[in-house]
Symmetry: D2
């Protein structure tokens, strides 16, 4: 198992998949050929990709000099221009260093946090969401965790557990904004999906896992719009790859391909859920120029779900 303290001196097998390319995730050429993720994954808004990359280089040089000659960090983005002064490029070294210094184990904050602060899904307030699965023992007992920074979807697409919620809940659209020269009808958004597992899988198996994130996205109603940056990254902590090792050969554990199957299923399910959690954990926010995005009204959602034979068991803000 991958020791968290070692993320600056070891890599893990990783892979990426681009379902639609109108977005940025840096560092993917390396991952494709060298097969490893050697850095923290940074999520930010579209305008701050360069600033965050620069700050990661500065941070690495200052705090992890053994890693300082490597400069291919992974920084991904979605567009928060509806609520945020995205042109201001406000994320710099202090914010990046604070994020890296405060990274921790345990529960992950969701909704209006971090890179997800200004994001919208299906024209409701959205942000960061997570979900996970643990396979049963006879399928290996592996864990699959998904984190999304979600910012996509027109209202009418919104589908929860198969129920066409967006067709029933047509009001509470974000307040009109004339500041964006681009379409603001929900088609233009993006989603970054991060899939982590402790299953021993190869980088090709991880690419196949990353592809499945798109199937989970589809279950929420998305058709992956033309202007979306639907970019996925998957990594496994099972095998530890030293960054500067002297080893000539590595001894690696891989699942036989048949045994990857349950991880595909878990990835689809957890991606769907992580998106819904990003959505239901979002909180109504007033942003730049008085622009407001509303949270999904839970009570009305419960009514709709019941109408379609899917009563909600309780009243969590977090669906799953």
């Amino acid at each position: 198992m991958f020791p968290r303290k070692d993320i600056w001196s070891n890599g893990v097998f990783a892979a990426t998949h681009a379902l639609n390319g109108d977005g940025e995730m840096t560092g993917t050429h390396w991952i494709r050929d060298l097969e490893t993720l050697n850095y923290p994954i940074m999520l930010t808004n579209t305008g701050s990709v360069g600033g965050v990359m620069d700050a990661v280089a500065q941070y690495t040089t200052a705090k992890h000099p053994e890693h300082q000659w490597d400069y291919l960090p992974v920084v991904a983005e979605t567009f928060d221009g509806a609520l945020n002064d995205i042109l201001g490029r406000h994320v710099h070294y202090p914010e990046v260093a604070a994020a890296l210094d405060s990274a921790h184990d345990g529960p992950v904050e969701e909704g209006n946090v971090g890179g997800g602060t200004g994001m919208l899904c299906f024209r409701f307030k959205c942000g960061i969401g997570t979900s996970s699965r643990q396979l049963p023992a006879n399928e290996g007992g592996y864990k699959i965790g998904v984190l999304v920074q979600a910012n996509f979807g027109s209202r009418e697409q919104l589908t929860i557990d198969g129920v066409p919620v967006g067709r029933e809940l047509t009001d509470q659209l974000p307040t009109a904004s004339n500041r964006l020269p681009i379409a603001d009808d929900g088609k233009e958004g993006s989603i970054i999906v991060v899939v982590a597992t402790d299953a021993p899988v190869s980088s090709v198996q991880l690419e196949r896992i990353a592809r499945r994130a798109g199937l989970g996205l589809a279950r929420t109603g998305s058709t992956s719009g033309n202007s979306s940056g639907d970019l996925f990254i998957a990594f496994s902590t099972a095998n530890v790859i030293p960054l500067r090792g002297s080893e000539k050969e590595l001894n690696i554990r891989f699942l036989t391909t048949d045994h990857v199957e349950p991880i595909f299923r878990a990835t689809v399910e957890a991606t769907e859920e992580a998106i819904l959690n990003a959505l239901t954990m979002g909180k109504t926010m007033e942003g730049i120029s008085g622009h407001v995005a509303y949270q999904l009204p839970y009570d009305r959602l419960a009514t709709i779900m019941a109408k379609y034979g899917r009563p909600l068991a309780s009243e969590p803000r977090r669906l799953f």
Copy 2:
């Protein structure tokens, strides 16, 4: 618009996408680099790919000598070993020539026909299915047609219009078969999706369209299993590319990328529907060794759909 009689002397822009690669679709190297589909698309079972390729070469030489020097036909397959004597490789020149000679405009047969004869979906009888969309005039009025040869899915995955039908309809599994050394639990199947449009789109836009077929597949419950050959091909009839022309330049019409968006949506919807039509048009069949696969019972389906707030409007065997 592409004149049907010219399919042996002209090509059309095309692209392919492999959501999962445990299957065969030949001719894809050409399509990736040369950007065109120059042949009829042949769908067969796994054991007959070679025989069909050979028969297409023979047919072309005999009947379209101007095309006879080209030998990169597109032949795709799914596995019908549960019902068919797949090891017998029974498809040869007569069947291939008959299929090519009898190709026609108008409605397409569905269910237990052609390459779909012996296929199963979600462990019900399945086969060939089709669906289409026409965009509204303000989105260009283009048509998008989808044809699938579907042979995938475990029962519990089956989802129709968001309703978890497979969890309610757990009986009528195919009769036990000990003849297959491979798993016969529905995980092992494949789907070939063919997307055709008259929208003027580039081969890259077609690749992006082909990717969306996977999102339609996801809506039916599939997580694209490890042993599936989920292979998609898309083509557009809007631009005609002469195979042996003397032109140095072609004048091509393309949609601006923003206007491709509705085609993505239509592709997702039509793929989902084509799969459901393949399923509901399948008819109970007894195959090799007395193995039986049952058709989806429509009356029980109607009951389940109603329970989930989705009453079926009538009683067609074809859902859409």
Copy 3:
């Protein structure tokens, strides 16, 4: 090390790369996702791909029934229409079974043999060629073997060890042929490159190795023409992957990426040499319709090489 007798019950890690796609190599969707080569690699002419695929299926069913349910053989081709009755599709089960039954260890025949019988390079007679490297012990001592079926190149491109031989040796072109409706000026050819190694490398590392075959091809003067099917496959015998194993996990050995470097270099060198061996081992042949392709005149080659400061050490027909 991979036991040769086991090729029907075990797989090896593999990968493919298409430098240019006007050609066919079947079975590549599987290899990309499942990461293994489970079959013999079959090389034939363009017209016989289907027939050979069909024959491999028949052979497998007849002789290796434990493998009979798999039908995704790897069959690749180049175009021998200048010398051969390619429209006749003359390769069927007897030839395929004979080839498979007579496969053996030890030296490989080169020149006008097997799939290479009717091939031309740089408008000289060509065919099958091989070459290999063994890395020094401090680089792991691994072996890298390359086999090509070569059928490409205009005369003026021909470059041997950096010497512009084709600009000096402008005669002895193949006799004029009016039978081909396609260009017969040497631009239209293809090359299949097979790279085998006993180094423990991953499928991604093998894909990177396969890409290097193109760099070896470039050294001979090729610019990979529009109508070429420059398709490469690489595999490693170091890790044995059971086809029907019950193992959940595999223990795999991989080189750390730094140690793959010498294999890249060896692949480039051996590909260049294998092409030159295919060329110099070719023998003058009269084919269909009295069409003649001439072998490279060794004495004149020696004179040219000396003029450019590269005297040939002896007079082998095989350059390396």
Copy 4:
């Protein structure tokens, strides 16, 4: 033809290819799916990718507000740590704005300039190099221009016009440097290749053109090392794609595939030459910590070339 003043309001068809991925070129997800290059291409060192991305965003917002909502610039890098204080990340807004403001038509500076200032090839001083071809009128008369930022190669690999120069010129290695924890033997370098043409080609044709840059690289002796970021981008100015147009359809001109062939050849040749020009235009430089890299000695080169039957016609510093 593309009006230079319009680069902020129009795009051009483009494509990228990664021969080896240990490097960074941002903006490639967009280019793959949206098919266009909408930004100037920025070349810098590895440590400054983030800073340059950030500066391009700032510059666009300040000077081209109509383009300010787009944030996916193309920034590529090679590693100049042997001569430069790469950890200092010294390229910021002033340098980026100055570069963009001073961009001009006409001859391009070569050698120790811009991003190429601190680069080495084959362990000689190197940097920026360019070359071009114009096809004859019967092949369309198109122009193909190549610019490289070159920083790769061990000495022994160096090959000029087929002559093994590196094996003859074994001295004048860069002075020893103990400051780099990574290997400094020339294997670790990278090359960025930019191919521009006025030929009317599709984005797929441009991807195929970009692939050919690797064949030109191979002619100089490179085997594309494990630690190289050999990243190529190609674009065509023939079709102008408005960034914010209201057009639903574009009328595009494309070459038929047969007519792309000469562009492949020209790309290979011009890439080879651009690398050699980057090498021969480099000037001896003393960098950080007194580290010195020497320029290729022209007189000794002339002697070697003559020995191999390739006398240099004159004594230009620029070979081609």
